[in-house]
Structures are given as C-alpha cells and as structure tokens.
C-alpha cells in the first residue's frame, strides 16, 4: 500500500514542493506570513489554470501553442464587454468563457479533421487570436473593470485564502475527476497513450481531440478572466508569456510530452514550485543580473531531486524482483 503511494506521479514534485517550503521558510520566516501565502496562492491559482490548459493537450500527445493567445483574447473580451457594452460581469465572464471554448473548438476541429499537426494549427491560430486581440485593443488596456471584479481578484475568503482559489480548486477537482474517474477522460488519456490502439478500440479519436482542445480553450479563458480580476485591468499583453510556464509546470509535475500520462496533483506542485522559485528570487534579493542563472539552477534542482527519487525507486524495484 505504502509503495503504491510512493509510485504516484505527483509524489516526487510534492516532496520537492515541501522541501522548498521548508527550506525557504526556515531561511526567511516572512515567506510563511499570511500575506505572503495569499500572494503565493493568487499566483498559483491563475498559473495552475494556464498549466491545466496545456496539460489537457499534453494528455492527448499534442501541443497547444495558442493557450496564451486564447487567454489574452478572453481577458480583453471580458474587460472590453464590461467597459464598452456595459455588460454585467457574470454575463461578460460567461461570454468570454464562450469565446475561449469556441477558440479551443476551432483548434480541435482543425486538428481532428485536417490531420495537420496540432503544432502547426495552434501556431497559426495563435497568430489569429493574438491579432484579433491587438486589432480590438490597438494595444490599449481596458481600464473600467467593475469594483466587484477587482474585489474578487484580491479579497480573501478565510484567513489568507483568496477567492481566486475557488475556480482553481474547482477546476482541479473537476479535471482530476474527468481524467481519472470518467470514461471520457480516460479516453482522452487513451488517445494520448496510443492513438492507433484507441481508435481500434472504437474510441472516436477526432471527437476526443475536439473535446480536449475545447476544454483547453475554456481553461485558458478562465485563467485570462482571473488575471483581469487580479491585475484590475484588461491588458492586451495578458498571455504573451504563458507558453513556457504552461509546459514547464505539467512536465515538472510528471507529465510525458508524448501523451497519455499527466498528473493534476503533480501539475499543481509544478506550478507551486515555479511560484516559490519566483518568490525566492525576490525574497533573497538576488542581483538582477544573476536572477536568470538562479532561476535556471533552481529548475534543474527541482527536476533532478524528483529524478533521483525515481531512479532510486527503479533500483529498489529491480533489487526486489531478483
């Protein structure tokens, strides 16, 4: 039983996260102050959705380069609809989610029914979505974000836990349930694990691809909307640099780029690790000219800790078998 637990994909990243919290907390007690925890949770909430959005696509063994463009488009639509059309925020949010869903659907349909690699398709739609964003905003932010939305972006629920954690937690649970308990989600992973076998088993691969891309679009849009609440304005540049994070977090969390294997918990830990590293750079007053070096070094540290654990597990397994 205990062994099973150790073998989970999320376990390694989880240990790394704990280790990081303990080390940083010991060196800088202010790291564990309620306000800082709140800041950390805010960062994690939004970034986790970005990572989930990519994770769903990694699950089917593809890549979605347009997550950031979809998120940005949803963000400025959300802010724009409220500012220009004066829509109430829930309606604007739903419509923006719809835009994200539609964008994802478009990606999915193009990938599924043309057979062209998702890499090329989403690269092209990235350009399309970003262009629409710039065309609408002409690079000017939307400023008139209603107070409620600003409040939601910053207010806390209980203790240091911000409200933005709610959409994140709900999405995480929903995704976990989908991918590991529902046949639909298992089909998504099956397609990623071995597309040909999944097809031969009667799974409708195109429909699964469309579904995964739609979910990805929806999650990216949600992240964009949450960022509007957090930044308190509709910046057209939202999403411009999501791409690397969106891959890094799931991969640190144990996902395999060829598909079929992702971990919701691991991805959350991956996001947390990246957030903690970001904080470390600020908390320890790293020379700005060395920030990138330390960042890279810490990423290497995080993944190699996990890797060493894996290797040790394998050794133990090998030793046990003989």
């Amino acid at each position: 039983m205990k062994r099973e637990f150790l073998k989970q994909d999320w376990f390694g990243p989880f240990i790394v996260t704990l280790l990081a919290i303990v080390i940083v907390g010991a060196l800088k007690p202010s790291f564990l102050s309620p306000f800082n925890i709140q800041i950390l949770l805010l960062a994690i909430s939004v970034n986790a959705l970005v990572a989930f959005s990519q994770m769903v696509i990694i699950a089917i063994g593809q890549m979605n380069l347009s997550v950031g463009a979809i998120g940005g488009l949803a963000a400025i639509s959300f802010a724009g609809m409220m500012e220009i059309w004066g829509l109430p925020w829930p309606l604007a949010a739903v419509l923006s989610l719809g835009i994200g869903l539609f964008a994802g659907l478009t990606n999915g349909l193009l990938c599924a029914y043309t057979g062209i690699s998702a890499f090329v398709i989403t690269l092209a739609t990235l350009s399309v979505f970003k262009g629409i964003n710039l065309g609408i905003t002409e690079a000017q932010p939307f400023y008139d974000v209603p107070e409620v939305v600003k409040w939601l972006g910053n207010a806390t629920m209980v203790g240091p836990i911000p409200w933005l954690v709610v959409p994140f937690a709900l999405s995480a649970i929903a995704l976990w349930y989908l991918l590991f308990r529902l046949p639909l989600g298992r089909s998504v992973l099956a397609v990623g694990g071995n597309t040909h076998a999944a097809e031969l088993s009667g799974i409708s691969v195109p429909w699964i691809v469309v579904f995964a891309h739609s979910v990805s679009g929806l999650l990216a849009a949600l992240a964009g909307i949450m960022l509007v609440a957090r930044l308190q304005l509709g910046q057209p540049s939202i999403g411009d640099d999501w791409l690397i994070l969106s891959f890094a977090a799931p991969i640190i969390g144990g996902a395999i780029l060829t598909g079929g294997r992702v971990s919701v918990g691991g991805t959350c830990c991956g996001v947390a690790i990246v957030a903690i590293i970001t904080q470390v750079l600020v908390l320890f007053n790293i020379d700005p000219f060395l920030v990138q070096v330390v960042l890279g070094g810490l990423i290497l540290w995080a993944v190699s800790v996990n890797r060493i654990r894996e290797v040790r597990e394998q050794r133990k397994a090998a030793a046990g078998a003989s």
Binding site: I121, G296, L300, R307
Partner: protein, 346 residues
Amino acid sequence: MSQIENENKTGSSAIPKQGRRFDPIQRFLLSNEFGLIVLIVVFAIIFSTVSPMFLSKFSLYALGRTSAVNIMIGFSMMIVIVTGGLNLAVGAIGVCAAMAGGWLMQAVGLHWLPALMGGLAIGGLLGAVNGVLIVRSGLHSFVITLATMSIMFGVMIFLTQAESYREISPAFTAFGRMKLWGVIPPMLLVTIGIGILLWVLFVYSSLGRQILAAGASPAAAELSGIHVDRMIVWCHGLSGVLAGVAGFMLVSRTGAAIPSMAGQLGQDWLLPAFLAPVLGGTLLTGGRVSVLGTLLGGFLVTMLTSGLLLMQVGAFWMQTYLGLLLLLAVLLDLARRSYLSRNKLV
C-alpha cells in the same frame, strides 16, 4: 485434390503482383517539399500582383537576408528535433556565441575569423553541455534546455552587464550588407551552403544515418550497435554551432553583438526555430528529416510576413491575417495531396 493441383499452377512466382509503382518524380510530386514550392510560387504571384513592389530588387534582397537567418535558426532546431528532442536554448546559445565573438573582436582584439571560430566553439560547447545533461540525467530535453536557456542567458547578461560589442571588424559587417548582383545577400548563400552540408550529412554519411536511427527508435538503434547517447550529444553540439552561425549572421547584419538580438532569454527565435522544420516535414517525434523542407518552410513563412507587410493590411490586424494565411497554406497543401491521391494521379 484436383482443385489443389489447379491452384498449384497459378502464380507460384516469389515476387508478388504489384499495383502502381512509385517512380521518383511521382514521389517528389507528393512530397512536402514540392507542396512548399507550389505554395511559395502561388503566394509570390499573389503578392506581386497586389503589390508590384514585392519583386523590386530591394524587397527581394531584404527577403533573402531575413530568411537566411530564419532558416539557419530552423536548421539549428531541426537537428535536435531529429533526435526526438527539442532545444529551447537555441536563442540563448546563439546570443552567447555571438556575444563571445563580439568580445573576442572588441576586448581581445582578435581578427574576425578566429573570433568567429571561437564564438562557434562556444556555441558548440554550450550545445554539447545540454546534450550531456540530457543523456546523463535521463530527463526530457524540454526541461533541461528550459533551465539551461535561463542559466546560459543569465551568465551572458551577468558577464557582459548587458553591454553590446560594437567594434566588429568592418570586413565582417560589410558581409551583412553586401549585395551580389544587386539582389543576392551572401548570407543566403551561407545558409544554402550549410543546408547542402546538412543534406549530405543526413543522406550520405554514416553519422547522419546513425542520428536518424537513434531519433526514430532509441531502443532499436542501441541494440543495433549505435551509441544513442553519443548521437544526442553530437546533435545538441551541432545545434549549438548552427545557432552560433545564426547569431553571427545577425552580428554581421547589425554591426554589433547585442544581448537583445534574440529577445529576452533568446525566446524570439523559438517561433522560426520550430516553424521552419515542422512546416518542412521534419517529424517532431524524431527520426525523419527534410533539410530542403526546412529551407523552404523558413522561406515561406518569411515571405508571408513580408508580403503581408507590403500589402499594408490593417495595422493591428496583421497577425490575424498572417495566421489565416498560414492556415490557408497548410490547408491548400492538404487539398493538393488529397486531390492527387483521390484521383490516383500519383
């Protein structure tokens, strides 16, 4: 029994009956490369009809020069994609190599040739470091190069304090502005030359074949007596050298080695880096490569951008049109292929 005897008499030859055979020309007509050529011609005709300036000497020269760099960046990524990995640090390595070259010319005062060699060596070394880390750790190249991209770029910024090197040998700078016969940038010739070398590598050399085998199926390659790990280190090293070449092209063009030439962390290079090989038909999962395809893919994308710029489509909407054109291009190619195979034309 008599039935069996009858069966016995028909078709006992060892060679199976064959349907249509592919001859090389038909194979080429179905290929990605041919598709790209068709697209390049089609779009060139469209652009030059809408905006005759497209075919002006200056415009063609500018196009050739920009695409030379983009294609070279594409080669640098291609060589790693072949192994089934990727190299996020192309930009960072390219800038590091170029900055090292700049430093050698300005601070050390070397002639441009040894400085160039030194810079390329740094590029190759950094690439090989990536390769060794990947092989030793057993981690995916994505994570390793993500981290080293940050480290390499960071060290470069720290060492140079983000200062540019401007004292580049005039001979070297002149190269970037030279025009052969009024339209041809010599850089494009360099790119084509390196393309030919790469083509020879993959088609005619033992090393290239081994690389392809290692990329397509590491397990099978290893069991066939190929040092898969060594191939991965080789490819990353070569990728670093090629990134360095792209970096030096930019140096020669801008007349300075500047830390921002590939953007923050060198990320600006990632798009052309992936786009050219992927459009050109290099498999992202490794083991299959098309040097000509990468060349044409890089050229097509550069041409689409410059064509759109010339057509003066609405300022802020340009990206949208670029995306749509790209989609149109790949869909056209798809249509061409399915038309050919549906009508059994090839």
